[in-house]
Amino acid sequence: MDALELCYMSAGDLSTLIRNKQVSPVEVIDAHLSRIEATEPTLNSFITLLPDHARDAARRAESQIQAGNYRGPLHGIPVGLKDLFNTAGVRTTSGSRILDNFVPSEDCTVATKFQQAGAILLGKLNMHQFAYGPTGENFDYGHMHNPWNPEMVTGGSSGGSGSAAAAGQCTITMGSDTGGSVRIPSALCGIVGLKPTYGLVSRAGLTPLSWCLDHPGPMVRTVVDAALAMNVIAGFDPNDRATTMRQLPDYTASLDGSVEGLRIGVVKEYFEAPLDAEVETAVRAALAKLSEMGAIITEVSFPMFFDSQAISGTILMSEAAAYHRDLLATDGDKFTPSVRLRLEAGLFVTAADYLKAQQARARFNYEMSRLYQEVDLLAGPSEPITAPPILASEVTIGDSSVGTTGALTQYTRPYNISGTPAISVPCGFSATGMPIGLQLAGRPFDEATVLRAAHAYEQNTEWHLKRPPI
């Protein structure tokens, strides 16, 4: 089989070939390592590549499968982890040279679950330093580059996860999302990114940015692959007190349903915020498509959307500063200046303001819960813009110039405040060929409905079939 086809194949399709012994995990890993070798000089998706480890694991997987010990749909599937997921014996930098020599002694829970499922770790993926930035710029390990146009950002903070999945370097990647860091690079790189409900995927063994806003989630090329990844990584973990003890569904089981009768609320305030005209056109076309497919599209109002920045900004700044305080004191000048500014600014937030933000978060979630009495999902753009140029501190939207960080997080951070599931799924391209994402968000722990709607939309469109020109 053509090596490039193996690299762009979904985990669902690849697993069928591996299970039926039509393709060996060794062949799959070799194809991906070749793809990485060809594209990495342009993309810079990886901080640490693990070719020897991956080849050894592939040979083991091949032997296991030949012996009849097939472990399931992720057996032999190449994965990449954002470099803040601890991996035993493999350095984990969190995107900072300060941790260049940090080699964890234990795997994070997500890495353990992937390993138990037979997935093969290809390497550790580049990221915005300490996950504190939405662009995917990194001055320590080099900036990440968008596969659709390498002069543009990948988005962040899980930028390497976005570029690696979009360019066929990995089949499944993992990111973490505190204000949008799974969904932003997914939207800007033209892939699927799911931020699950808070407490559904363990944070144990991940470098925190904000304890109460961090959500690990899969970044993949198809919705089926997001469901397959969730089947492996979701669930209770005694090492993460936030994880749920609920009985969880098979996330692939819900995918065959239609959106007939599904009530989708379009938040009108999303369209009152700065929004690029091309993005708006693509998102409205996607909503029209969902309507044509049988969904009931209604407009809803959520005025507290405009409070998202103040609420999540206050919480994020405080918690990030608290976590990094000691390192700031000893190695402050080794941080990227913009990250250092963000972290140190958090030291000026008072305890009273932090608690006010937590109170406001409770009201925010109450108001959002009321919306879900009328609708099953909320919808809107994932991002107000397509990927901006690397190092652009401001972007132009319509007639106004806005800060890049604020723009990139404006539609994603509400769902970090609510802790509810949200997915970005490709819904179009700009005239310059840059991807656009549709965001669908659901009730807590109702990933099944989010995935079902995203999958139905995906299967009725062809955006996910396009490949970047790299």
């Binding site: 109460c212 007190r241 936030a242 507290m304 405009f306 409070d307 920045q309 103040a310 609420i311 900004g313 206050t314 700044m317 305080r325 004191a329 402050g332 000048d333 200046p337 250092r340 500014l341 140190e344 600014a345 030291l347 000026f348 937030v349 303001d353 608690l355 006010k356 933000a357 937590q358 109170q359 406001a360 978060r361 409770a362 009201r363 109450y366 604020g406």
Partner: protein, 67 residues
């Protein structure tokens, strides 16, 4: 832009010292306007009516007691 209620430099220096930052570092000249802007961006928080809403808390007195 800094708001009318934003920190002045002496107050900033006082708080910076209290937070353990080196106020003699030239970096403080960058941090000062950054903090002013960040506080202005979050100022909307004060206007949110939170009457009747308690902050969510992860506190669990039984957390370290295993059955």
């Amino acid at each position: 832009m800094p708001s009318e209620n934003s920190l002045d430099r002496p107050a900033f220096d006082y708080l910076a010292r209290a937070a353990g930052l080196d106020t003699d570092n030239p970096h403080m000249n960058e941090l000062f306007p950054y903090v002013q802007n960040a506080m202005a961006a979050n100022e909307g928080l004060k206007k949110i009516d939170t009457t009747g809403f308690e902050p969510d808390s992860a506190f669990d007195p039984a957390h370290f007691y295993q059955d």
